[in-house]
Symmetry: C2
C-alpha cells in the first residue's frame, strides 16, 4: 500500500483498530510517533493510579504493604510471556541502568572472564554502565563497530570473544536503527566461549515477541515506558535464567533481596530466587502504572501487535522509497521485516530542523544526533493513515522548504 | 499533661491542629501511629498525581520531559532547607539502598581507608549495603555495639577509627529506639581521622531539623515516604557537600549522570555537579507525589513540627510511666526530648500479640522483632488526644488480657 486510500482500507480491516480506545487521547489530531520513547497513557492506568493513591495508600496506609510487597514479582510474572521467560524469572524493579549494573556485575563475579563485549549500536547509557563494571572487575569493554543499519552479527561477536570475556551485552533491538540482533546465534557463540549474555530489551518488549528461554539467553533488562506504555520513568524489569539463580548474586544488598526480609538479621543472606536481584522499597505508584501497561499489552496480543508493527514500518519504508528518498532522506533501518523493531529511522542533513517543522504540523517523531529522525510505530494506537499523513506532511515541509525558518541551534526537541 | 482533658486542651491550643485537613483521612476514627513507616496521603498529592498522569503524561506525552528532566534537582532544592543543605547539594533519585551504595562506594573510592564504621542500631538494610561496599573495597565493616536506647556516641565511633576507616555511616535517628546521634561530634571525630561521614536521615527528615552543613557532614541519604508523606516507595534523596562534588564519583554510570546527557557520546563524563550522582530515568509519578509531601512539610514548618513531636512523644512517655510500666512495658527510647526522634518504642514480652490486639481496636503502631512496638507520632496529623486514647486502649487490652486470644505465630503485621 502506498496510497492514502489503501492506508484507510488497511485501518478498516485492522483487528487492532479498536485498541486506540484503550488510551487517553487528548488531541485526536496529533500523530504521535514517539511511543518508542514514551508510550501513551492507557485509560485503565489512570484508574489504577487513582485507586493506588486513594484506596491503597490513602485508606489502606501501611497495611497495603501486604499486597505491595510482591508486586514487582507479580508484575514480572505477567510480563514474562512477552519475553519468552518462565514464572519467577522476571521481576520489576529500579531502573534499566541500575538493573544493568546489578546483572553485569553479578555476571562478571561469576565467570573467569573480566571483560565485556558490547556494540556501538547499543545505548550509550548501557555502554557507560558496562565500561565501569568491566573496569571495576579488572577488565575492559570491547566495543564492536558494527554496521550502523544491520547492527552486530554473531560473527562480529565471535571476533571479540576470548577467555577474558565474561559477558556479552547488547541491545536486542538497536535504539538507533531498530535492527534486531540474532539472539540465538550470539548467545550460542558467547556460551561456546564461556561467556554469559545480557540483553537490553527496552526497544523490544511490547513491540515484538522475544524468546529468551528458547535462545538460552542468560540475563536481560528492559524498560516499561516505551511500547509497554508504563509511564514516564516507570520501573524497569530484569530477567535471570532460572538455572543461574543459585550462582549469581548482585552487589547491592538491600532488604528486598534478603531471604528473610522482616527478620532484620544483622547479616545479608540473599533470597534463593529472583528476589535476590531486588534491592530496596519499590515505587508503588509508578509500579502500579507499569502493571496496567503490561496487562494491556498481554491482552492485545504480542503476535498481533508484531504483525501490525511490521506492516506499518513497511508502509513507512515504502513511502520513503516513493516520496522521501528523492527529497534527500536516507533509510537507516533494516528493510527485512523480521530484522527490524517497531521504529524506522531516516537520515537527512537537515534532520534537526525538519523534526521541529514536523512537530509544528502535529506529528511528533524523535530526533537523535547526528542527523536522525526516528519514527516510532506503536501498533496499539498508530494507524496506517497516520503514517501516510505523517509522510505527506514531511513531503510538504520539504517542498515548501518550511524547515528553513527554524533555528539550527540545538535544544531538546523530544 | 497526663489526663484526657489536658490532651484535649493541648489540641485546642495546637497551632498545627488544622494541618490534618491537608490529608486524605478515610477513617477519622483510626489512630495512625505508623507514619514513621508510611506517611499519610496529602490531598494535594492526589491532585498532583492526577495532573501528572492526565495532563503531563496523557496530554503532554514525551514533550513533558522538558519539565521532568530536572524534577529531581528541583525537588532536592525544595527539600534542602529541611536538612540544612544548600542549593544544588540535594537531589531526589532512586531508593535509599541504591543511594547508600552509590555514596558509600564513592566515599571509599576517594579515601585511603577501605573500611566502614557503622552501628548495630543502624538499619539492617543499610548494614547489608555497607558490608558489601566495604568488602568490594578490600575492607570490612566495623559494627559498633552501642547502647540499644541511646545509640552510638562519638566515643563509640572514636574507638573504631584508624587509618583503615574511610567512612563512618550511621542513622541520624535510630530506626528502633529513635535515638538522635550527635552529628557534630561524630563528624568531627571522623574528619580528624581522615574519614568521611554518610548519614541516613530516613527517620529524621520531616520530623526534626537536620543541620548537615552546620555540622560539616559530608554525605547523606534518606527516604521521603515516612515523615515527608511522599508515598509508598517514593524516590529517595541524596546529599553531597558541595566541596566534594569534584572529588567524588559514584560507580553506576547512567545517562542522567552524564555531563551532556543528550549528546549520546560514546564515553561517560560525569556532570560537574550533583547530577553526577544520578543514574537513570526517574519514576515521574512517584516523584511528583514526593514533591508534594516535601512542599507540605516546608509550609507547615519544621520547627513547629519538631516542637509538637517532642510534646507528643513526651506525652506518650509520661503515660508509659503512669499506666504502662506497671503493666509489663519497658521504655526503649531516650527520655531527653532533644535526644529522640518522632517515635517512641516500648518493649513487652507479648509485644507481637499486643500489637495485633491494638490494631483491632483501631490503633495502628508498628511491630519490630524482637518484642518492640514503635509508636510513630507524625506531628502533622496526630493529636494529643489520639496519643492518650491509644494508650488507654492499650491499658484495656492488658487489663482484659484481650491479646491472649491472638496467635503467637508470626505474620507481617505492619
Amino acid at each position: 500500500m502506498t496510497t492514502r486510500a489503501e492506508a484507510i482500507a488497511y485501518d478498516e480491516a485492522d483487528p487492532l483498530a479498536g485498541a486506540v480506545t484503550e488510551f487517553v487521547v487528548a488531541d485526536p489530531d496529533l500523530i504521535y510517533l514517539d511511543g518508542n520513547s514514551l508510550g501513551r497513557l492507557p485509560s485503565r492506568t489512570f484508574a489504577a493510579i487513582s485507586a493506588a493513591a486513594l484506596v491503597e495508600w490513602g485508606e489502606g496506609l501501611v497495611r497495603s504493604w501486604h499486597d505491595w510487597l510482591d508486586l514487582g514479582q507479580r508484575a514480572g510474572d505477567r510480563l514474562a510471556p512477552l519475553i519468552g521467560a518462565g514464572k519467577s524469572e522476571v521481576v520489576l524493579c529500579d531502573q534499566t541502568s541500575l538493573n544493568l549494573y546489578k546483572l553485569a556485575t553479578a555476571a562478571l563475579d561469576s565467570t573467569p572472564g573480566r571483560s565485556i563485549v558490547t556494540d556501538n549500536s547499543n545505548f550509550p547509557s548501557d555502554r557507560y554502565v558496562l565500561a565501569e563494571v568491566a573496569h571495576r572487575a579488572g577488565g575492559v569493554v570491547r566495543t564492536i563497530e558494527s554496521d550502523p543499519i544491520a547492527g552486530p552479527t554473531a560473527a562480529d561477536v565471535v571476533a571479540q570473544l576470548d577467555a577474558d570475556v565474561g559477558l556479552v551485552s547488547l541491545s536486542h533491538v538497536a535504539y538507533r536503527s531498530g535492527a534486531v540482533a540474532d539472539m540465538g546465534a550470539i548467545t550460542a557463540a558467547a556460551h561456546a566461549s564461556g561467556a554469559l549474555t545480557l540483553w537490553d530489551l527496552s526497544h523490544s518488549v511490547g513491540a515484538l515477541p522475544v524468546e529468551l528461554n528458547r535462545h538460552g539467553a542468560d540475563l536481560a533488562i528492559g524498560c516499561t515506558y516505551k511500547y509497554l506504555n508504563g509511564g514516564p520513568g516507570a520501573p524497569a524489569f530484569l530477567f535471570v535464567r532460572r538455572s543461574l539463580h543459585d550462582d549469581l548474586a548482585q552487589p547491592i544488598h538491600g532488604w528486598f533481596g534478603h531471604n528473610e526480609q522482616f527478620h532484620f538479621a544483622p547479616d545479608y543472606e540473599p533470597a534463593p530466587d529472583i528476589r535476590r536481584f531486588l534491592v530496596g522499597t519499590p515505587s508503588i505508584l509508578s509500579m502500579q502504572a507499569a502493571v496496567e501497561g503490561i496487562e494491556l499489552c498481554v491482552e492485545l496480543g504480542i503476535e498481533a501487535l508484531r504483525r501490525k508493527s511490521q506492516d506499518l514500518t513497511g508502509l513507512l519504508i515504502d513511502l520513503h522509497d516513493q516520496r522521501l528518498a528523492s527529497r534527500g532522506f536516507r533509510l537507516a533501518s533494516p528493510r527485512q521485516p523480521d530484522r527490524r523493531g517497531s521504529h524506522v529511522t531516516l537520515l537527512h542533513t537537515e534532520a534537526y530542523r525538519i523534526t521541529k517543522a514536523l512537530i509544528d504540523t502535529g506529528v511528533i517523531p524523535d530526533y537523535r544526533d547526528p542527523g536522525a529522525i526516528r519514527f516510532g510505530i506503536a501498533p496499539s494506537y498508530i494507524s496506517a493513515t497516520q503514517v501516510w499523513d505523517a509522510v505527506d506532511r514531511l513531503v510538504t515541509i520539504m517542498d515548501t522548504t518550511a524547515y528553513t525558518t527554524y533555528d539550527v541551534a540545538r535544544e531538546r526537541v523530544t
